[in-house]
Amino acid sequence: MSDTLDVVLRLLAVFVAFLVLPLVVGQTEHKVMAHMQGRLGPMYAGGFHGWAQLVADGVKFAQKEDVVPAGADRRIFQMAPAVALLPYLLVLLAIPVGPGNAVGQTVDAGIFFVLAVMGVGVLGSLMAGWASANKFSLLGGIRTAGQLIAYELPMLLAAASVAMAAGTVSLPGIVDAFHWWWVPWQIVGAVVFFVAGLAELQRPPFDMPVADSEIIFGAYTEYTGLRFALFLLSEYAGIVVLCGLTTVLFLGGWHGPFGADGMGWLWTLLKTAVLAFVVIWLRVTYPRLREDQLQKLAWTVLIPLALAQIALTGVVKVVTQ
């Protein structure tokens, strides 16, 4: 009985985190982006500095008509948001926030699980892009696919470097093996992982697949109401997952300069929050990369860097053993 209760509680906690954290990131993005542009951002919803803006947005989305274009492939069109969103929920299940048992579900081959399932999420965008019967959506879908193929490889290689360093592919195992000097050692891999993750999430400056000034909103052009909201939610859930993963893999998760016992999960959350801020910061600062620049960055910069990182990791590993 207590086992069942434990499982239910864990699932519930992960689900709540899944619903709350993306909204927190979204609200932070509203506010941070506004202030970086000399604006105030939402000020009314909820009273105090517009804290409930995203709740209000959700209510608005729920009230909208759910439109399926006449020429669309109905079932796939309707299924796509769920395919885009669910993988991030699954990934969140495997990210450890604290030492010991503070993880939704321990997965033996954690890195592979996380990266594999994140890759599945992009299928949602592809399905949406194809099923909308809209040329802009189709273009968005093609760009999404091209971007995923280009950036999946450096992301995997960077993650493999950490797995080599730690000698394990389980996420809690990697954090357990972490020492502070891993940060300078793996910094290149960390940057490659983070950048590739941003590209996979189609966050600016890598938002060519949804470039609103040329292809409206890419694969999501034809979506309205709740399904559109699900796509947006999956983007922000993706930010949470990416930042959490980078924290766990490269920044030592719950290790901190002090307060290691009991407060470890706070360190994880703090690092994740800082990274989420960086995601927003990058979005505000840089203009969108052109499609050829996107591909060039992945194939000629990130992959060589990731390979160099793997070589460095291997050399250090052999020398120190």
Binding site: A34, H35, M36, R39, L40, L282, T285, Y286
Partner: protein, 191 residues
């Protein structure tokens, strides 16, 4: 150019610096804007100064000023004098749905009867309510701010200069008379 990537870092610094500064957003309905005194918000009418000369109505480029008046004869001020005729204002209205806020009416008014007021919150749901009649124009008059002070090293206004000149002349005259009187007294004392 400097180090590679220094441009990227500079970009990040710009956004971060902007974030630490105060936002420029005008929180209008919550906080009223601080408008300069010469803001062209609405036009107020100081009825007592109006002589119904019709200059404003004639100069208005889009004919949005309506003036009705009649003549009255005023009995002579002194017995035996001539009767005077006087224009009396019956209606003065400005249609703000036509007005383009050029301010020509205010410029041409020779008797300072029209003024700019910075008030701007007079939107209506019916366009006909944008015709502001005499009483409403008078109410706007109370919102007209004091004219701004002159620049520190500016020339004095002409009327002040004229008044001062007269005052100085009078003072000099008085001084001279006083002196002459004194001289006379001294002479008398000598004698």
């Amino acid at each position: 150019m400097g180090l590679p990537g220094s441009g990227l870092a500079k970009g990040l610094a710009v956004t971060l610096r902007t974030m630490t500064r105060r936002a420029h957003t005008a929180q209008y309905p919550d906080v009223q804007p601080e408008l300069p005194p010469r803001t062209r918000g609405v036009i107020g009418l100081f009825e007592e100064n109006c002589t119904v000369c019709m200059l404003c109505a004639r100069e208005c480029p889009d004919w949005c000023i309506y003036i009705d008046s009649h003549k009255e004869t005023v009995p002579p001020a002194a017995p035996g004098g001539r009767e005077r005729s006087r224009n009396v204002l019956d209606r003065f209205a400005i249609d703000f749905s036509l007005c383009m806020y050029c301010g020509i009416c205010i410029e041409v008014c020779p008797f300072d009867a029209l003024f700019w007021s910075p008030e701007f919150e007079y939107a209506e749901t019916d366009i006909q309510d944008l015709v502001h009649e005499r009483d409403k124009l008078r109410e706007w008059m109370w919102t007209v701010p004091e004219p701004p002070a002159l620049d520190p090293a500016a020339e004095e206004p002409k009327e002040v200069a004229a008044a001062r000149k007269t005052a100085e002349k009078l003072a000099a005259q008085a001084e001279q008379e006083k002196q002459e009187q004194q001289e006379q007294q001294e002479k008398e004392g000598d004698a």
